[in-house]
């Protein structure tokens, strides 16, 4: 949490990075998959991570909310801070990190035993919040933020899984933002969706970046070019280049970046 002193000087907030990753290396068992990643994510903006399959972008994303720890053989070295707080300090409970950093997955996964409204506030309720009025308020706010409220407001009791693919993904976004995280991580959120649903999600990303920092992993370069302000290009576990999206797609500094952008390999 930013200290009260920091809160009173706006310039400090703007300069402080949402994420600051230093020398991040990850191994799955004996195999190393990330090599000394150093990058910073600017707050209240959209940062895209691009790269060919297997380059480690999903792995890096999962380091940002300690989800890579779900794989028993995973090991990380290096340092990642969230608004200045060390996420990997020994006293830090991963659950606490995940409350501050939300995640939306490639395949939408609304909880099958819950209704739409229960899905949205699942995180709040299962983390101990009982206040019904607050839960209802958060539910509506989150569904509005996810651009889903108008479509489901009369069907809130229906099962979460009864929605279409694109709606389910927006429901998952609502569920994630209901936690009021500081950052929202998105792991190829549109790869299973049709172009119409994809467009809706890209639009809502532009809306919510006012309130949240967003980091999105995508294999769709055009999406990265459309949506993000910063782009990082990963290849074979290494960060090749990171800069503003205009620079990366218009005039990349590295040859490898240019090769990837122009489709010489993929």
């Amino acid at each position: 949490m930013p200290s009260p002193a920091a809160m009173s000087t706006p310039s400090t907030i703007a300069e402080q990075l949402a994420f600051d990753a230093k020398d991040v290396c990850v191994w799955y068992g004996e195999k190393q998959v990330l090599y000394n990643i150093n990058l910073g994510v600017r707050p209240k903006s959209i940062t895209a991570i691009i790269g060919p399959s297997g380059c480690g972008k999903s792995t890096f994303l999962r380091c940002l909310n300690r989800m890579h720890e779900l794989v028993p053989s995973a090991r990380m070295e290096g340092n990642i801070t969230l608004f200045g707080d060390d996420l990997y300090a020994p006293t830090v409970d991963p659950a606490f990190v995940r409350r501050r950093v939300g995640m939306v997955f490639q395949k939408s996964n609304p909880f099958p035993t819950m209704s739409i409204q229960d899905n949205v506030v699942a995180g709040l309720r299962l983390n101990g919040i009982r206040d019904k009025a607050f839960l209802n308020e958060q539910m509506e706010n989150s569904l509005r933020l996810a651009a889903l409220w108008d479509e489901v407001k009369d069907d809130l009791h229906k099962p979460g899984v009864s929605l279409s693919g694109g709606q389910q993904q927006r429901l998952c976004i609502a569920r994630a933002v209901a936690m009021q995280p500081e950052v929202l991580l998105m792991d190829e959120p549109c790869s299973a969706l049709d172009p119409m649903a994809t467009q809706k999600i890209e639009e809502l990303m532009q809306e919510i970046k006012r309130n949240f920092t967003i980091v999105i992993v995508t294999h769709n370069m055009q999406q990265a070019a459309r949506c993000s302000e910063q782009t990082a290009f990963l290849f074979m576990g290494k960060l090749i280049e990171m800069d503003t999206t205009e620079k990366i797609f218009g005039n990349p500094a590295e040859q490898q970046t240019e090769d990837y952008i122009t489709g010489r390999f993929g």
Partner: protein, 328 residues
């Protein structure tokens, strides 16, 4: 996070983060340990069985040692106990059961996987599984009042007429007896051998069959060459699994085998298996020596079934067939 940098004393609305109690790891630690203890109970159960059987059998082991397994006299009055009649009974009845059940089960499994029309396969499989669900005591009831009268009237006399010159089919026909025990056992183990074999045969990749067909083989040749030889190990495992079930089967056998503690050559004579002697005689075991002898029989039965099932499971694992034990 609501950055309510308020300059007035009005309280800022509580954020989600402020409303949630701090996470604690205690719940997870407890949960993992608790469920581990529950899972380890399996080992505790096995240990419990071994312990209790050993304690109960100890007097008998001390008195008779290994001769308990080789002596055939079983005399509660003189307190001379040898379990050979029951070991013999278990082996013989299981052998009879396997001789009947194995060809029928494998042939049925072939029918189900290779020959039967598609609409018939699931209903027939379900029917066979239902046979497995019939409680043993009910099959025993049917055995006493339906199967045995029928066999005594129509089948056994014919067998004796044809084969009575051998020691196996000589002697008086009581109806109950070793052969009846073996037959009812076969009915009980057919479902499990069939269903495991069916799974094994279905898991044979179609590529094998197609290759054989492409060479112009007939249906039987395809089955024999491409399917059965591929599935040999798994089928053997299914058979051993059936044998394990036969060895341990109690109630139905108890009700039709006749409760005799002597070894007879004739299949028509009454006998006992290790399981049935426990059911038949445990209640009458009035003195400690008798009881201990029965515990010793139980110990042997336990060890035999564990070894047979171990063998079967390992075979099935090696064949990559059933990934879990068959419960029915």
């Amino acid at each position: 996070m609501a950055l309510a940098v308020a300059t007035t004393p009005a309280p800022a609305p509580k954020t989600v983060g402020q409303r949630m109690p701090a996470p604690s790891r205690a719940g997870d630690v407890f949960s993992e340990r608790f469920t581990l203890i529950m899972a380890l109970s399996i080992f505790a159960l096995i240990g419990l069985i071994l312990y209790e059987l050993l304690v109960g059998a100890w007097p008998t082991i001390k008195t008779f040692g290994f001769s308990f397994l080789t002596t055939s006299s079983w005399n509660p009055v003189t307190e001379k106990f040898g379990a050979l009649p029951f070991i013999y009974g278990t082996l013989l009845s299981s052998l009879i059961a396997l001789l009947i059940a194995v060809p029928l089960s494998i042939a049925t499994a072939i029918y189900l996987t290779e020959l039967a029309p598609l609409w018939l396969r699931q209903p027939l499989t379900s029917l066979i599984e239902m046979l497995a669900a019939i409680p043993s005591v009910i099959l025993g009831l049917w055995g006493i009042f339906v199967m045995i009268p029928f066999l005594s009237k129509f089948v056994y006399p014919g067998l004796q007429a044809a084969l009575g010159w051998t020691p196996f089919f000589s002697g008086p026909i009581f109806g109950i007896g070793m052969l009846s025990g073996g037959i009812i056992l076969s009915i009980m183990i057919i479902p499990i051998i069939t269903s495991v074999s069916r799974e094994i045969l279905s898991s044979v990749p179609n590529l094998q069959r197609e290759a054989a067909y492409a060479l112009g083989a007939t249906k039987w040749e395809v089955t024999r060459v491409a399917v059965l030889s591929y599935a040999k190990r798994g089928l053997f495992g299914a058979i051993i699994l059936g044998m394990g079930r036969a060895v341990g089967e109690t109630m139905a056998v108890t009700m039709v085998i006749g409760n005799s503690s002597k070894i007879s050559a004739s299949l028509f004579a009454p006998g006992n298996t290790m399981a049935s002697v426990l059911a038949n005689q445990f209640a009458e075991a009035s003195d400690d020596a008798f009881l201990s002898a029965l515990f010793a029989v139980g110990l042997v039965l336990f060890l035999v079934t564990v070894v047979v099932n171990l063998f079967a499971q390992l075979l099935l694992l090696a064949a990559g067939g059933s990934k879990h034990g068959k419960l029915a």
